[in-house]
């Protein structure tokens, strides 16, 4: 069984300029199959799934609970091995690809301040400085909270620190696992807007997982719909940004997406 997660490296001529032209941050998923051995026999989560993610694009995977979203995410992040198939990343220069993870709950160390939580993930970065952590915290509006502990922050602020931590390692790809689903809608909405503006500024590939169709349309260039053991739809969202969730166009796209999503049981 050929199952491996590999990285290919490619030199980037136009280093530092126009992220659209580089292929760093691309993800290639090829013929991915995942089976689990259970007491009732082999359970197949999905079979022969292939897709490509363009560098710098914002792609969302949606699916019902139990559809295998988390399994797919875990294979792409390298936590799980696929039964068959492979995942390739394209990295900048000669280094391994760097993935920045944002989780459903912020997963901060409660005994460390915001700055220390960021410092924690820079174990092998000799260039890490406190200024770097502060710069990233400024990016998400936490300038007055450098030395606060997570217990002194609101839920939204904590998730901001979680996002900042992932961004601070300068990953080619940001992997986000339902990062706003534990927040109240008002906070979630403002975080979505901030995420988009940061994404437009930094030009990273984002692989986002959610079960919220509206959220997916608001954020993504592309939506992959997972169900019945396969990606049954691959929908491009061509709405202009910033997107107004109440506009007629948005609602039309949303209705279309819902119809397509419910076409498969």
């Amino acid at each position: 069984m050929a199952s491996e997660v590999q990285q290919s490296t490619e030199s980037d001529d136009s280093a530092g300029i126009a992220h659209g032209t580089s292929t760093a941050g691309a993800i290639h998923v090829r013929n991915l199959t995942k089976e689990f051995d259970t007491e009732e026999g082999v359970e197949r989560v999905f079979e022969d799934v292939s897709f490509d993610i363009e560098p710098g694009s914002f792609v969302t995977l949606i699916g019902r609970s139990g559809s295998g979203k988390s399994t797919m995410l875990n294979i792409i992040s390298g936590v799980l091995e696929p039964t068959a198939g492979r995942v390739d990343f394209e990295a900048t220069q000669d280094s391994d690809v760097t993935l920045g993870h944002v989780f459903q709950s912020p997963r901060l160390l409660p005994w460390n301040t915001c700055v220390e939580n960021i410092e924690y993930v820079h174990e092998n970065n000799p260039e890490y400085t406190r200024e770097l952590a502060e710069e990233y915290l400024d990016l998400v509006g936490l300038s007055n909270h450098y030395d606060k502990y997570p217990s002194q922050l609101s839920g939204g602020q904590r998730q901001r620190v979680g996002i900042t931590r992932a961004l601070s390692i300068d990953p080619e790809i940001l992997i986000m696992d339902e990062p706003f689903s534990n927040l109240d809608e008002i906070t979630a909405e403002s975080l979505r807007e901030e995420l988009i503006s940061i994404w437009q500024k930094l030009g990273k590939t984002v692989f986002f997982v959610t079960h919220d169709i509206t959220e997916a349309i608001e954020l993504s260039d592309r939506i992959l719909m997972l169900g019945n053991g396969t990606i049954f739809d691959d929908m491009s969202i061509d709405l202009e940004r910033p997107r107004d969730v109440d506009s007629e166009e948005f609602l039309k796209v949303r209705q279309d997406a819902i119809n397509r999503f419910h076409s498969v049981k």
Binding site: H101, P110, W111, Y120, V121, E123, Q152
Partner: protein, 269 residues
Amino acid sequence: MSTSNRSLPTPLRSTLGDKWAAALISGILGLAAWWLVTVIFPRGLFPGPVETVNASVELLASGIVWTHMEATFFRTFLGFIGAFFVGGALGVAMGINNFGEHFSTPIIIIALSIPGIAWAAITTIIFGFGVAAPVVATAVTVFPYISLRIWKGVEDIDPNLIRMSRSFDISKARLLRRMILPSIAPALFTAVRFGLAISWKIETQAEIFASNSGVGYRAIEAFSRYQYDTAMAWAAVFVVIVFLLEMAVLRPLERKVFAYRKEADFGVL
């Protein structure tokens, strides 16, 4: 925000001033109860607070107190260290896997049910008079308490924080120092505090059988000579020293380690 605690004390959470008042009142009530006992049983046998203080002063002045205090502290500490390592290892084993839990549970249940005084007798039979008997008796009596605390501490480690650390390629050494240790720190503190408290009780009991020195030995010796005030003084001096140790070492350390907590919910036995 910083003034809200002071100006609006909630009914259940007292301000700093009330804390000291409460501690003072409880101390005074304790002394009053002690005094009352000496009055209700007026045979003049049971020494009250005043007699005990006088006897303590005499004891301290004689200088003999320090050698015995040192012996008891040394053995308490050795016994506690033994209990801490054996108990800690079993506790970690119980916390991290099923085999460890099923392996350790019967040992701990049996060990918990054996009285310290029985261990004191057993170890005296095995080791005879000397350092080994009270130290071993202390270690084997105390380790199950340590195990139970550490077990719960290890179980309470948030697996999501471990997963997060793996996602960011954190090394095992850094994971241990930055994530695991702070996570089990509350359990470690409780284990140290209870462990020392029980250790000293077992140690002094064991000295009755197995030793010819130490606070327990001298207290029981004074008792058998009808010097009840001296017997009480031995205990009282030790209690004061343990109290000072708690206030001067454990609490400040705890305050520093748990500074990140929102409420000052530490320092509670």
